[in-house]
């Protein structure tokens, strides 16, 4: 369960240190707020709901600082400096895997608004049930479905925008 919480945190904030803080805050808050957990409800959804709220608090605390700028800054920096995307995942093996998928899908995901990014992560990457995603996003299931639909549309549009870049890289080989 901690892995899933951490994964969501890593997709919400760019820095691993921030993600770790978010996860720790989430679990401590969960301990304090344990009375609010309804027996029989999804524990992971409850935890991720707390995490997402902590993320919103973090954004507020940092005032004008926008964590992901336009969602593509970190990738742009990596491209400029020629670094492997290890700065993003903080792990050589994961950096390799990220390189394999060329970062495009990751870059496109980061370019989405947070609520669209989260719905894609929960429903299409983590394969959660609709009701669990609805609990995290605090919206009805119908809204989750329509939001996911719109988010996937936006992802496809972004990926098609990145496609010429990819094609040119391919030709250089």
């Amino acid at each position: 369960m901690l892995d899933g919480t951490y994964r969501l945190a890593r997709w919400l904030v760019p820095r691993d240190s921030d993600a770790r803080d978010l996860v720790q805050e989430t679990y401590l808050h969960a301990l304090e707020a344990r009375k609010t957990f309804r027996p029989g409800a999804s524990m992971r959804a409850w935890l991720c709901s707390i995490l997402r709220n902590r993320f919103v608090d973090l954004c507020r605390r940092r005032g004008h600082e926008v964590l992901w700028a336009d969602g593509a800054d970190e990738f742009r920096t990596l491209e400029t400096t020629g670094d492997a995307p290890a700065g993003f995942f903080g792990d050589a093996e994961l950096a390799r895997l990220t390189t394999l998928v060329r970062g495009d899908i990751g870059r496109a995901l980061q370019a989405l608004p947070e609520n669209h990014r989260t719905v894609v992560l929960l429903c299409d990457v983590e394969h959660w049930r609709w009701e669990e995603a609805a609990a995290v996003l605090e919206v009805p299931i119908g809204t989750v479905q329509s939001r996911l639909f719109r988010a996937r549309r936006a992802l496809r549009r972004l990926l098609s925008e990145y496609a010429p870049e990819e094609a040119s890289i391919e030709r250089m080989r």
């Binding site: 951490y6 990220t98 899908i105």
Partner: protein, 264 residues
Amino acid sequence: MSACADNSFRIALLVRGELDSAEEALLRAHLAGCATCASELAAEEELSRKLEKLPKLMAPADLKAQVQDRMGVPLARGRVLRMAPRRLVVAGTIVLALVIGAAVTLRSRFAADPLALAAHQAVAERRSLDLQRDLFPGETAGAPALLRELAQRYGLPATTAFPGDAELRLVSVRPGTALGKVSAILIYLDKEARLVTLEILPGNEVQIPPKRTRQVQQFRPVLARVEQCGVVLWKQGGALHVLTAPLDDQELARLFVKVRTHRS
């Protein structure tokens, strides 16, 4: 075209495998003759494949350890047992620190009544444990060894600890704190998956006034109810035992007799 636009959402559901067979058959019949929708399906499937390729990050081990330590949760089976003595003490101290916040309120309410304080602390602990059920399976095998280690380190009478049976399965043992002392909390699940806890802590100085006890067969424990949860307190082998279970008084007394009379 509008009919195809209406199909977009169904195509998304098809990719997720969430259409029923009749809807799927209808849609597939349409797809066979509609290039626009077929292209939509291909694009959706391609997107799903790309999403599947995203690396599945795992939480770093040190983060897991930090979180679990701060939550007062022993690590996966066997991990606590491998802790150096100093680390175990540190973990115990962290547990103590975590519990202090909640305990301060209780202590101010029950400063003059250690039995009431122990009962409330045990019920609060049980509530917290109830949120951690998914961790128990990984801890069950190591529970007896952890109990022995806690007993040895903190002078707790492990021989009075009910080892569980077919009706009440021991699923985990955790270090805890009660009345400012380190305790061992034995965690059980009954046949209806209800959580039952038995907390054992040094209790030489705790007095149980006879007028607060009740006769249960040959024993005289204190039977109480905290937030709808049944609590039984008794002294045995120099230790205070606190049993919590969401049972009515009669079931609680029966459970107490079982736990109290077992022979290790």
